[in-house]
Symmetry: C2
């Protein structure tokens, strides 16, 4: 049976409270699916992406989709992330690894952010 993992990939930060929205997001996703959902970070937080991918491979996933939880697509998403994904593909040749566009490029996400901004000004 096919098992398709999701990895929510964030930048990472020194303050552990920074990761709270990522944890809430993972909890929301786990409520919608039985296949695994995990977090991974570019820097300053663990696990890193190779560790998270290895865990999903060990857990029996044949496909993993990495979703960059970033607003903008700058150097981290366009340059750093593809290098780490290549490294993960080399380490797990039988695993299919997809990489999504950053969530901030999605119109539904931007609409939700715009709605939040409107609520903040109460107009």
């Amino acid at each position: 049976m096919s098992k398709h993992g999701i990895i929510l990939f964030g930048h990472g930060a020194r303050d552990p409270r920074w990761a709270e929205p990522f944890e809430r997001l993972a909890t929301k996703l786990r409520a919608t699916r039985s296949d695994p959902v995990s977090l991974a970070f570019l820097e300053l937080m663990m696990p890193d992406l190779p560790t998270a991918v290895a865990a999903l491979a060990l857990d029996g996933c044949d496909t993993v989709t990495v979703v960059p939880v970033f607003f903008g697509q700058g150097g981290h998403v366009r340059r750093d992330l593809p290098l780490v994904i290549d490294q993960c593909r080399s380490a797990h040749p039988y695993l299919t690894i997809h990489c999504a566009t950053a969530v901030g490029e999605d119109d539904g996400v931007l609409d939700a952010v715009a709605d939040y901004c409107v609520r903040q000004v109460g107009s």
Copy 2:
């Protein structure tokens, strides 16, 4: 007449394409309101927050709401931003400056991100 500006505050990056979602967000918001909406960045991009606040004050705003377009609330939002906001308040004592919680803390935003993730795995 009261004029209430919104500043979308982002981290900034070296790659100018990083700012595209912020520009799309500003365009969406401008379609919903007649009061001004502008962008400001913590680093690597211009304008910075003091410049954006000064422009809104000059434009006749009496209130400005700064919305941190960040997922997590780490050092940038908890420590750096309040210092810059204090500096803006000192420079514009007659301007009311509100600062919202980071957009990633909002449940509606997280629901939209979760929905995006589900669409990526096609399940």
